[in-house]
Symmetry: C2
Subunit: 196 residues, 2 copies
DNA sequence: TCAGTATATTAGACCGGTCGGTCAAGTCAA
DNA sequence: TTGACTTGACCGACCGGTCTAATATACTGA
């Protein structure tokens, strides 16, 4: 594992487990066994690192269980349950490892830095758009296959993403992953009707 | 307006508009025209200030439009729309004043500091519990009055609060209060059935 | 009413520590 | 010999918090 990857992985872990402002470059470096000069050889700034961390996590998600959850082979509405389950097990594992529920890195960063850093905010926004696109596709297929009655798929998809983020927020505040398991499945009840 | 109130009001504005870590005591003092010595006469620490700000905002909410929204005179399910509207107009006003959507102070703080500060986390958790209690009461009455079919009122109430927080999170990330207006009303579609 | 005193509040210099970031000198493989 | 990478000392700015001295304000007994 080369230096840059080590920095990235460490930063991701620390940012996720605590917060952006709370984690210093010095701490990242010492935990990754890297000197400061090396750090600034690979990253221009802390902001640059944050962007790289966001992209890194986003890629992992897209190729990881998000890809599994939104597999076309699964019945569309079951994909939502799969997604909720994945979040639950992930948060539960993280809590049992570190004692605290880290929540969603994207949601955490969004609320922490989006009033201060326009570049990061825009990137996070794009990631949410992409995520809501997955929900959108699932909803389109669910309607197509007669699994649910027609509705405003775009709006409902975004609402579902919002709900998932909200559930994670509340679960993190309670420090209890079970909140995700208890409230998560209700994501399927959210409906925004078509305008006519 | 005495010194302590000035500190409190300024801190609240800054914490809400930016973040906890990003706002220093020095900045709060200079904006409130207070010296550091005075600050530490009234507050033991920055954490102490945060707690006071949280309580202050919580009281304002409880006696402000939350009290209006959850007025017993309103039909229960209409209270939810009232609440969503209030959030929308508030965020819109804040954005037109400062250019940025601040989101929900409690949600912001929850994601920023709850992994780091157990005391603040617990307080925020209590506030969320109280808020979900309002939803709960509205749902109980809605069922009682035949406005909606029976459901798990406790779980649904919490789910609705989660949804509201999630919508605000997404709106803040988009920096667009209209997200609240567009997605907010779907809060009424959320249902968690009774266990039997 | 007043002197005297205790207490609440203000003032701002000061503290050690940490922050993000820079830099010149070095190592090492191609 | 070149260019990628590493080392770690160093920078000014800022952080939360402390401290002592000055100044209002409130309360006291005569």
């Amino acid at each position: 594992m080369d230096t840059k990857e080590r920095i990235l992985a460490t930063a991701r872990e620390l940012f996720h487990g605590r917060s952006y402002a709370d984690v210093g470059i010095k701490e990242i470096c010492s935990m990754a066994n890297v000197q400061k000069g090396s750090f600034y050889h690979f990253f221009q700034s802390k902001q640059d690192l944050a962007m790289a961390v966001i992209d890194d996590m986003s890629d992992d998600w897209a190729n990881g269980f998000v890809a599994e959850a939104f597999d076309d082979a699964l019945p569309p509405m079951e994909r939502l349950d799969y997604m909720v389950d994945a979040v639950y097990f992930w948060q539960k594992a993280a809590k049992s490892l570190e004692g605290r529920m880290p929540g969603c890195l994207f949601g955490n960063l969004a609320l922490e830095v989006s009033t201060r850093d326009e570049v990061i905010r825009a990137r996070l926004n794009a990631i949410f758009d992409k995520a809501s696109g997955r929900f959108h596709q699932a909803l389109e297929q669910a309607i197509e296959q007669g699994e649910i009655p027609p509705l405003d798929t775009k709006a409902t998809a975004t609402a579902m993403l919002a709900y998932l983020e909200g559930v994670i927020l509340l679960a993190k505040t309670r420090n209890d992953p079970d909140v995700v398991r208890n409230l998560g499945p209700a994501i399927k009840s959210i409906r925004i009707e078509r305008k006519h």
